[in-house]
Symmetry: C2
Subunit: 604 residues, 2 copies
Amino acid sequence: MQSPIQEYLEHLHAEVLKLRDGAPYPVHPGDREPDPGAFGICLATVDGYVYSVGAADQEFSIQSISKPFTYGLALEEHGLEVVDAKVDVEPSGDPFNEISLAPGSGRPANAMINAGALAVVSMIKGSGGKSAIKRIVDRYSDFAGRELTSSKAVFDVEMRHSDRNHALAYLLSSFGIIEEGPTRALELYLRQCAVQVTCRDLALMAATMANGGMNPRTGDQVLDLENVERVLSVMMTSGMYDDAGSWVSSVGMPAKSGVGGGTLAVLPGQAGLAVFSPPLDDHGNSIRGVETCRRLSRDMEMHFVRSARTGRSAVRATFAISELPSRIRRTEPEAEVLERFDDRCRIIEVNGDLLFAGTESLVRAVSELDEHVELVVLDLRRVDEVGAVALQMLGGVERRLREADRQLVLVERIGSAAASAFEPEADVPSFHSRGEAVEHCENRLLARYGGSAREPDRVEVVDSPVLASLEPEERTRLVGLMERRTYSDGEVIRRVGQRFGGIHFIVCGQVSNFATDPFGQRARLNTLSAGMTFGELALGTEERQETTDKAEGEVELMVLTPEAIAELEEADPQAALRLWHALTRDAYLLVDRYLRETLVRLTY
Amino acid sequence: MQSPIQEYLEHLHAEVLKLRDGAPYPVHPGDREPDPGAFGICLATVDGYVYSVGAADQEFSIQSISKPFTYGLALEEHGLEVVDAKVDVEPSGDPFNEISLAPGSGRPANAMINAGALAVVSMIKGSGGKSAIKRIVDRYSDFAGRELTSSKAVFDVEMRHSDRNHALAYLLSSFGIIEEGPTRALELYLRQCAVQVTCRDLALMAATMANGGMNPRTGDQVLDLENVERVLSVMMTSGMYDDAGSWVSSVGMPAKSGVGGGTLAVLPGQAGLAVFSPPLDDHGNSIRGVETCRRLSRDMEMHFVRSARTGRSAVRATFAISELPSRIRRTEPEAEVLERFDDRCRIIEVNGDLLFAGTESLVRAVSELDEHVELVVLDLRRVDEVGAVALQMLGGVERRLREADRQLVLVERIGSAAASAFEPEADVPSFHSRGEAVEHCENRLLARYGGSAREPDRVEVVDSPVLASLEPEERTRLVGLMERRTYSDGEVIRRVGQRFGGIHFIVCGQVSNFATDPFGQRARLNTLSAGMTFGELALGTEERQETTDKAEGEVELMVLTPEAIAELEEADPQAALRLWHALTRDAYLLVDRYLRETLVRLTY
């Protein structure tokens, strides 16, 4: 199905194409007359998907859109303070080639006007065997995710039309803002402006900015977030050769235009937008570029005020462990302990971004828990971004819980950064599934409050809860029909697809059942311990085994084989009936338990 | 537990309190000397929770922080165009009482400087029996969520020190920007500046802006989002008597300060911040107010570039219905049909905000579905915000699906706006639980592909799948032991807590089981139809009924009572054994099914 977003962009393209005003930038090599009808729109998401309409792959000169990228490079190399000493961050309101220097210091108003860009580019030096221009072009290439080049032909013709910029460079040099000579800065500047890009390139460059400086296709961190923040701030007020306030009000996205016909806009965290259309207005902005940005901002809600309406709350739900018990089947006395101390543990499920709002709601949820909740499980698996504020606050949460002898437990994805939040003395168990975390908490509660209810190491078949409704002599007789089997750690007891192999009573040790989930991954369904039974599941599924059952540690079993069952039914039907009653009841206990869990799942 | 956010704010308060520079605004009634040491910080979230430190409840004059709120009122009453004709949206860079009017037109640069505020307030008229000032103060009160008042004493003293503003008002009047006389505008302006607020009030006023214009405590939509967008845009570049670019770079939040010592900042979608501290810098900004904003922006990542990093994707997961089947127990032939045509339906689970990025990922997920997926279920229950872009795109998705003879199905919360997205001719079934939506899809698939597998209206006990393993004459004999019972629509068949009442075979009609979820809500667990059994669950739970079972429509049952079972076991133990085998197998079929579902839940 064609995407409605693609459809919208095509509609927008057709509408905006109707604008016929303006004229292309007149300075270009003789054989590269810009086509006023060429018009491309590309929208790249922060996961690197690109929507495109029209002239998406036609090359043109990047021109002034180079400025924010070189500014980012200078900030990275020299730091904010050094760069700020040379170039301010104020909107000038002036057109792009005005001379807008502070009286006295000669400091250009910002890095988006030519004077500022000349000052910035003069700070880039050759390094590691690479010339300054090579380093600049390489940086742009990293943003675009492909190798870009600067056009010699474009540079040559620009050089012949650079009187005003030459004058600016000399003036800046006179104030000591440009070092190493005005001509070097001018040449570097004109070479960076002559880099050839496509609309698609610009969209990916913008998406890299939107993605906090990481190219979503290559995964390279091209610029760090702190510098991205600065570059986009300056673009917000000074990126368009236009009135700053009007751009913020009507578009509300950091943007930059170039006389080559390109316009680039960034929706932080969400998307990069690029437009290519050569006809310019009197300010030097692409007419179709500006109109496309205005319409997209309005129609797609890309204005910074609207796009920032992030979720009300990162906290999805708070559970008790009784609502989502672990896969460990507990004995009745254990289950009673867990029920009695159920209020000592809470699971908080979080999703979305842990930036300010998400972190605040998470921290508030933990802070408002009753003080007798001693185990606080944060399920962070559905969290997307973990900001610095989240790490700082998680550290505080852990410390405060620890000081009150309470424990923080995490469920997180592999590779999560959350662990870096904690002080060295913190002890925060971390798991990759909620089941494991709940198992940990149940074990902690049983260790602390279980007393005599603790799971016995060994349960003889005669004491099995499954058979509790049978008379002692009947149980003893059943044991006489069983086979004793032992397994060592990791050994497979029953394999998927095997026929019904009888009822297995665990005398000692633990047995886990595994099945394949819908995504082909093996997942643990249950862990059973002494006193429990397994193997009956094959009764339900055409008498085939649905799970693979493996020993966890040394395991001792007593097995009532199908042959033994048949023998009993033949010899003493009334005893067999009582056995089946017991087994059916046990099966329905399981059904009941799963239904209870299903209820929780249905609710959310 | 004390919140680490509270702790952070207290630490910040202690740090910033150390700043001792600046002096309070000297104009005030004789008995209201401002206390330079008074210092409060309040942070209000978009759900109305307020963190506060220090002088949170001390009243002071709102002064210039009134400007954005009156600007919003004027925009609402007169529209953007009329207001823009009188006041521009450009940063002036000038201090608050400078005369900053456009040459020729006399249009003030923006509504945050005094000239602009005078022009704006002159547009507010009395209406509906309320004076202009009453309407203004009422509006502020709606933002704050409590009744505010303007101080006569403050107004009187300000009036005696208003030469410069008086001059401004006359000047604006001479350009025709102010109507109805300069003195009226000046008096209105000074009265609005004399409104008494606390730091807590300002935080809630800011949170109302952050919340898209809806007061999070009262639920009132005080200003519509379009005007909030405009007001915050102007505050972003012109709210502080400071350099616009520097504020955007270092704080990156729309803000407004007043000489009364207040500072208000808005983090769109997330929070409102207010600071109260009277000592001012040379620009007229509260020194501690500015420093608190800078630090909070950095420490809590409130800068617009950082705070906007919303989740990568709104699409959480895509499921097949076989992974999360409905609560309808299907017959074996039906189950086979559903399995065979499982690829015709997909459930897409979405969460977070459907603004641009979220909508894009949702639309992309639907667009990339294989064309033979004819039923597309969007589970929107976990969606927070549904923006206009989402409504527009959902409309497009529905239309395209419909044109290809495919169907969109929604799962949404009660009161969701999604339905307003669709064209009148759209037919989009909407449900409040995923189970109902899946049931709908299963029924559609069975209607289309089921053929002879369609669920029969009537299944006699002798044909019940549960008893398939018994010989025909055994089944006939069982029927002879049963009681026939009928129920009408909505009638309760079995109630929670009743003792085991036998095995109920459904001959005709549907029966639903309900249980109480952990939140005390009644939820449907299952719907059973002809050929299925129920009531055995009580076997598992100490022989007590766990669910309430109700007739859906006319229902005919055959019941094998506990007495009949006992009679059979006594008279023919081998037949009873085969019955129990059948029942146990049926129970384990259920266990198997729940385990499969649990696997899906474990995975996510």
